[in-house]
Amino acid sequence: MIELYVLLGLMIAGAIIAIEVKNLLSAVVAVGIVGLGLSIIFLLLKAPDVALTQIVVEIAAVILLIRATLHRDIALKPCGSRPFGGFLAILFLGLAVLAGALTFSGGLNPFGSPLMTVSEFYPMNAVAGTGAVNVVSSVILDYRAYDTLGEATVLFTAVVGVLTVMRSKGKKKEEDLQGNNE
C-alpha cells in the first residue's frame, strides 16, 4: 500500500512542478516523470499491458511535446498565470475533494475489491473462447474488438488531423483557382 501512496505523491509533486515551473522544457520533463510514475503504478497494480503502452506513449508524447516548445529561447521565457487562478484552483480543488469524499463513501467500491460482474467471465473463458493467453489482449481484440477499431480510427483521425493542420496553405488563392479552371 505504502508504495502506492509514495508513487501517487511523486506524481502529484511532478504534476505541480510541471505546471508551476517557468521553463517549458523542464515542464515537459516533469510531465514525463509523472507519466513514468504512472507506468510504475500500472506495473505494481498488475496491469502490465497498460504499463508497457503507457511507457511508449509517454516517450512519444514527450518527444512530440518537446517539438512543440520549438525554440530554446522561448522555452526559457517566463509564462504567468491569470490572476485569481490560484484562489479559484484551491477553491475548486477543495470542492472536488469534498464531493469525491462524499461520493466515494456511498457507492464506489473500496480500493482493492472491485465489483466484477461481467469481468469474471473473461478470465474464466478467455482461453477457451478466444485462444489468447493474455486475457487483456483477448478482451481488447476479441470481446471488445469494436472498441479497438474505434481506437485505431481515433489515431488515424489524429494523423489526418495533424496533416491537415500542418498544411502551410489551407485555402487556394484566386490565381490558383484561375489556373485550375483553365
Binding site: P48, L52, L64, V127, A152, L155, F156
Partner: protein, 152 residues
C-alpha cells in the same frame, strides 16, 4: 563547428544508434507478435517501431531516415493497416458476424499461432500505429523547416 555535426548528432550517438536501432525495431515486432501471449500488443509494439524510426531520425537527420521510410510511405502504410483491420472485421460477416473470430480453432493457447485473428489484428494495428506516429513526427518536423525559412 566542424562539418560532421551538420547532420545528426555526434558520431558516438550515430554509431550506437546504428548498432541498436535494429534491436529496437526487432523488439517492437516481438511485442507485436507476442501480443496475445505476453503484455503488449499492436499498439505498444507499433509505437516502439515508430520510435525506432524516430531514433534514426534523431541520430542521423531527416535525410537518412527519409531514405528508410518516407512521409508518403507512412500515410500509405497507415491507411493499409487501417484497411486491413477493417477487412478483418468485415470478413467476420461471412462467418457469422462483425468481428467474428473466424480463425479461432487453429492453434494451441500459448503458441505463437493461436488465438485466431488476434495476432493478425495486432499486426494491422501495429502497421497503422507505427506509420501513423512516425507520420505525425515527420509532419511536425517539416513545418519547422518551413517556419524557419519564412523567418529568414
Amino acid at each position: 563547428m566542424s562539418k560532421e555535426h551538420e547532420h545528426g548528432m555526434s558520431v558516438i550517438v550515430k554509431t550506437v544508434t546504428r548498432l541498436t536501432v535494429g534491436l529496437i525495431f526487432l523488439y517492437g515486432m516481438y511485442i507485436v507478435l507476442h501480443g496475445h501471449i505476453t503484455p503488449g500488443g499492436g499498439f505498444a509494439g507499433g509505437v516502439i517501431i515508430a520510435l525506432s524510426f524516430i531514433n534514426l531520425d534523431l541520430a542521423f537527420g531527416g535525410k537518412v531516415s527519409g531514405k528508410v521510410f518516407s512521409k508518403g510511405g507512412t500515410s500509405l502504410v497507415e491507411a493499409l493497416g487501417a484497411v486491413m483491420f477493417l477487412a478483418l472485421a468485415l470478413m467476420g460477416l461471412q462467418y457469422g458476424g462483425f468481428f467474428d473470430n473466424f480463425l479461432h480453432p487453429d492453434g494451441e493457447p500459448g503458441d505463437l499461432v493461436s488465438a485466431g485473428i488476434i495476432p493478425l489484428e495486432n499486426i494491422a494495428i501495429s502497421l497503422k500505429v507505427g506509420a501513423g506516429l512516425f507520420g505525425i513526427f515527420l509532419t511536425l518536423i517539416v513545418l519547422q523547416k518551413f517556419e524557419s525559412e519564412k523567418k529568414q
